[in-house]
Symmetry: C2
Subunit: 359 residues, 2 copies
């Protein structure tokens, strides 16, 4: 990743982070399985499919298409960072993983995406109506899992989770509205609007995960807020890195076609930053993006040319800078409060792991 | 309604209940408007449309297609019934109205219903993806509205609300699964499975509304539980009455076609009770429902014949009995705890109002 410190260190951190993710998953999994097991059998089957635990016939398929479990790890590390046992964060970890599953599931419906993690999406496999229901079930279960935690922290924890839920939905609304906005002129999407969208859509839940862990671990408000802020910056950095990979990433590593986001004429950070530069390359890029009408995808040649223009107009560098800035801000936020050294190192390893794929 | 006490009294109670609904709406509306106003403009527009506040262009259209506001009234009356000021229930009232709006919105997607309250449904007017998002926004806002209430009752209130959310989603799952089950044989839907579905789908939120009002009013657990139970029975009674109206209701009053639910071969209580009777009429009914295959609607003649057979097999009487039983149980539940006499009378008026249309 930008700001990384050489290959050997990065590889070591990578291995640490991978081990960390597995440790947190093992800690959280029984409660997560228990929660999903409380669902109606039909919605439970769709939920298990969406979590990558089983195939479309309901047959267990362990590990095949699971996510990395970043949010549950952040919750556990949030608690450990404030000196608590990671186990106190489990209900929060369950809640954020369920919210994440819900949001992927409903976003795939809204975006019309038919494939996720090399498999059919839920709406594609089960139908749109059932997928709406499965998402609702995960959403409700997330809130319930946290609401049922006894103790004085439940109220504040639910306040954070519900604020995050509205942020998440707002981020998706912002993202969907970007599609209809022009590339240039007064209605164009500016990089700061993008940043806000990314914070809502991706950052809010990452911040909530870490904050919930700290909160359930009994941390003071300032620490909870610092972890929340770190997660939000991480989210923006992550989204920008994702945009970089969507244009210049190795298809073999990302599983996405080369220049995929450009073909689909997605309003990603590198493109928006390039357009905002106002240079000749920026103008040519705008003309190219406008050329084939507002809906149709770009062809191979046009997409390759667009990538070149984004780079020439400084969009790639601006995106790398932006990702670095938010990674630094996340780290600063963590350094601003007293954290248990071991867990702070773990959090740092996780940050590096999540972002270093952009190098 | 069955069990009612004469036309004059019923008419008086009807007027009381209508006035009551207006009073509660006036009390809750500013907070509800304020909550919806916090949404992203796009989801806010869809939310206002779904609440019947504006038309599809976003132009205010006050009162044209609003619901009765039963849930907010139950919340306010729940507080008043335990001797509190109705105002303490406002956040709970906002939450249950938002949950109700969410559930109608997403259910219309799942059921493919294009019309509600003489207007296009949200998915029909705005598209499926946006409607999924609008429902999610209402859902998140509901939880947030309640989570932000300061005070010791917030945790327990959210526990109730989130339990209700999972019940609601479960009820919808049960209802959707009914469609694929046979009319007869071991896989057939029995009246008790229907009762459970109706309690989850309709009763849980009515019970939650009244219980939240009492809870926010500082009532002891026994009273909160009694109000919850009363609302759940009310919900089952309401759903069964709705089924009766879906077969024998006056289309001019219900806005639904005559024998509509039979044409659509819906598994309603009167039909299920008739089939469970095992009489000759029940067997003829089963044959008729099976005859035109599992999917196609019944024609006029077949639907009229089915209505006749349901009645002959005792399905209509069984449904009336069932509705009466649940109305009585709701009243018993209310009488079992000490309630403020004025509010108890109001609750009774509301019960009668909601169910007397079935007479």
């Amino acid at each position: 990743m930008p700001g990384g410190s050489g290959t050997d260190v990065a590889t070591g951190a990578h291995a640490d982070a991978a081990a960390l993710l597995l440790r947190c998953r093992a800690l959280v999994r029984p409660a997560l399985t228990g929660a999903v097991g409380r669902l109606h059998p039909w919605t439970g089957e769709m939920a298990a499919f969406s979590l990558g635990w089983s195939d479309v016939t309901g047959t267990p398929e362990p590990g095949a298409s699971e996510g990395k479990g970043v949010r549950q790890a952040l919750a556990v590390l949030g608690a450990e960072a404030v000196g608590a046992d990671g186990r106190v964060a489990v209900a929060g970890a369950v809640a954020v993983e369920l919210v994440h599953a819900f949001s992927l599931l409903h976003d795939d419906i809204m975006d019309g995406d038919a494939v996720r993690r090399q498999r059919e999406t839920v709406w594609k496999a089960y139908g749109t109506g059932p997928a709406v229901l499965a998402g609702d079930a995960l959403f409700a279960l997330a809130v319930q899992s946290l609401a049922e935690v006894p103790g004085a922290h439940t109220g504040p924890a639910l306040r954070r989770l519900s604020g995050t839920l509205t942020d998440l939905v707002r981020g998706q609304a912002e993202d969907l509205c970007f599609e209809d906005r022009p590339w240039t002129g007064p209605g164009a999407v500016r990089p700061d609007a993008y940043r806000m969208m990314a914070e809502h859509k991706t950052g809010a839940l990452l911040g909530c995960a870490a904050a919930l862990g700290a909160l359930l671990g009994g941390a003071p408000d300032a620490t909870v807020t610092a972890l929340d802020r770190a997660g939000r910056h991480l989210g923006v950095a992550f989204q920008v890195v994702d945009d970089l990979l969507g244009i210049w990433g190795d298809p073999a590593a990302t599983g996405k076609p080369v220049h995929g986001d450009l073909r689909r004429r997605k309003k990603t950070y590198p493109v928006l930053a390039a357009l905002a530069a106002g240079t000749r390359a920026a103008r040519e890029l705008a003309a190219l993006l406008d050329a084939s009408g507002p809906a149709g995808p770009l062809d191979d040649r046009a997409a390759a040319r667009a990538a070149e223009l984004v780079e020439r107009a400084g969009g790639r560098d601006a995106a790398l800078d932006e990702a670095r800035r938010h990674l630094d801000a996340a780290r600063r936020s963590l350094r601003g409060v007293p954290l248990a050294p071991g867990a702070a190192r773990d959090l740092d390893a996780l940050l590096a792991f999540l972002l270093h794929r952009a190098v």
